[in-house]
């Protein structure tokens, strides 16, 4: 049996009195795109933060590539790429500067050129990142997060604020990447999720409500679209084990 990319067993995380994640259990064994779906405040970003090593679980077991994560453990940063919900680039930083910086941080020679090519920004390398369109900037951020060929790519709402063309381009890029890489992507765009994701996780109120391939989720919800399935899962009551009733 191969080592799973990601494995969570009854993982919980609280922020003060607020339970952001509660006893979440799932595993991802193969490359592909996994959509992380749920309404605002469902716990998607908290889950991504745990997987990105930005926070630690209060309880449960979280393993990346078979190695447990938690206090005192060494996070495998060289095997993970992260694109945050809102990426910030200091003023006047050009595409080339940005690409060079992230290539250098990841220790990839000629990585800057690789980032610019993957982002298809060869003609805009001397332009400040703040002057790129939303789609161009997002392509740059995704390309930079891939420069070290990570095994796991974490994306927090990568298509938010993108126009349809840019969304489709990003989806195509992620499809290519997902041939070898496990891509875990939080998104509110259910059409996009239906189009590009191999597998989806529905989170509601910090609990994992449902998971499976798009076809499995549609069958479980008795829905014809992922959007219908989303409303089905969101409106269903949740029992203590997190299962929909």
């Amino acid at each position: 049996m191969s080592i799973p990319f990601v494995s969570l067993e009854r993982v919980s995380r609280r922020y003060g009195a607020f339970e952001a994640l509660s006893e979440v259990t799932f595993r991802i064994d193969t490359p592909g795109i996994v959509g992380l779906l749920g309404p605002n405040g469902a716990g998607k970003t908290t889950l991504l933060d745990l997987l990105a090593g930005l926070a630690t679980p209060d309880s449960g077991n979280l393993l990346l590539f078979g190695e447990p994560l938690g206090p005192g453990s060494r996070y495998p940063k060289r095997r993970v790429g992260v694109v945050l919900q809102r990426e910030f680039v200091p003023d006047h930083v050009t595409v080339e500067d940005y690409a060079q910086l992230f290539a250098a941080i990841q220790g990839v020679r000629a990585g800057a050129q690789q980032i610019i090519q993957l982002a298809r920004l060869e003609g805009r390398r001397h332009l400040a990142v703040e002057r790129l369109s939303g789609g161009e900037a997002q392509r740059l951020f995704v390309a930079a997060s891939l420069v070290h060929s990570p095994d796991l790519l974490l994306l927090d709402e990568p298509s938010a604020r993108l126009d349809p063309v840019s969304k489709r381009e990003l989806g195509e890029l992620l499809r290519r990447v997902s041939e070898k890489t496990c891509v875990l992507m939080a998104t509110h765009d259910l059409n996009e999720a239906e189009r590009v994701c191999d597998h989806c996780l529905f989170i509601l109120g910090g609990r994992l409500r449902a998971q499976g391939s798009t076809a499995e989720l549609l069958a479980t919800a008795g829905a014809s679209t992922l959007e219908d399935a989303f409303f089905h899962f969101c409106s269903a009551r949740v029992n203590p084990s997190g299962d929909a009733t």
Binding site: G53, L54, K77, V82, L84, R86, F88, P90, I105, G107
Partner: protein, 336 residues
């Protein structure tokens, strides 16, 4: 009209809803007034006139001892005649008293101080008054090291503190924390980046001071001053780093830095010698990193002091740097 009212109200609330902004806007000016009145309640800093006696430290010339009794005169010793002359030139002192050959006293003052010099000479029966034409830019030269240090101070505090708080607020630090970038590399890069800018800035200031205001630093003095500035940048970066580590909000960090820079600028000997202040305050001020830096840069740049002469100041600065970076490293968080 209603839009005008609402926008004006929003602008007011923008300040009043932030405790730090409210304090900066309303409380700080009152606090400054109170502090200044406490410090300068006894008179302005230039009311007390300085007489530099060229003699070994701790040995007070019998004639000079007579001057100590006067409230408006402060007597200090300086073993080196050239340094005493430079102090007169830069207005760090108002008169130089030296016992020349044949035990005659020579009292040197600037031409503008002739009247005061004659009065002073009348208290010293065997003194001969010498009037010298001083450079019109003497006080500018006195100010120059302080202004240089203020640039270093701002570069360190804002360059590190504000930038760090801003980067954290915008999740740029969070992004970096997901990469293998070492924290020390990031911090060092901030200092090096700012250091390069400060080096250019300081060089430019120095050229202007030499060409425009007659400053004549020795090579050794300039190099020693550069070393002090480098250490000073390290210290103030550490203070900025500590503030950014203690406080999350970018606006509060900015307000706090503004609050910190005021006493650093005012009570570090940038504009006037510290001994004009109340004694208890002087003891506190002498421990400030800004005072250690200003004092060392002034000694090296204006009076040609060597590295050894400012070693104590450098040690004090390094202690400040170690303490602030020690605190920062413990408190530092990549993200909110």
């Amino acid at each position: 009209m209603r839009a005008l009212w609402l926008l004006s109200r929003l602008r007011v609330l923008d300040v009043l809803r932030s405790r730090s902004a409210t304090f900066s806007f309303l409380g700080l000016p009152v606090l400054i007034l109170l502090v200044l009145s406490a410090v300068f309640g006894g008179g302005h800093p230039f009311e007390v006139r300085r007489v530099t006696v060229v003699q070994a430290p701790g040995v007070l010339d019998v004639a000079a001892a007579r001057l100590v009794a006067y409230e408006g005169v402060r007597v200090e010793s300086e073993p080196d005649l050239d340094v005493a002359r430079r102090k007169l030139e830069t207005r760090a002192t108002d008169a130089v008293l030296v016992r020349g050959s044949e035990s005659a006293l020579r009292l040197t003052v600037g031409t503008k101080d002739e009247l005061w010099g004659r009065g002073l000479a009348s208290l010293l029966p065997d003194a001969r008054l010498e009037l010298v034409k001083l450079s019109r830019f003497g006080y500018v030269q006195y100010l120059f090291p302080g202004l240089l240090c203020t640039s270093v101070m701002f570069a360190g505090l804002f360059g590190m503190g504000y930038a760090m708080a801003r980067y954290r607020r915008n999740a740029f630090l969070k992004k970096l924390s997901t990469t293998p970038l070492a924290r020390s590399t990031f911090v060092l890069a901030q200092i090096l980046g700012r250091g390069s800018l400060v080096a250019v800035q300081a060089s430019l200031l120095l050229v202007v001071a030499i060409v425009g205001f007659g400053l004549r630093p020795t090579l050794g003095g300039a190099l020693s001053a550069a070393l002090v500035c480098a250490v000073g940048l390290f210290v103030f970066s550490g203070i900025g780093f500590a503030l950014a580590s203690l406080i999350e909000t970018e606006a509060v960090v900015s307000d706090l830095i503004n609050g910190v820079t005021l006493p650093f600028t005012l009570f570090s000997g940038v504009f006037f010698p510290l001994d004009s202040l109340p004694k208890a305050l002087v003891q506190v001020c002498e421990l400030l990193p800004s005072t250690l830096m200003v004092d060392a840069v002034r000694s090296t740049l204006l009076y040609g002091a060597g590295f050894r002469a400012v070693a104590g100041n450098l040690c004090g600065l390094l202690l400040w740097g170690a303490a602030t970076f020690g605190i920062s490293v413990r408190l530092f968080r990549w993200h909110e």
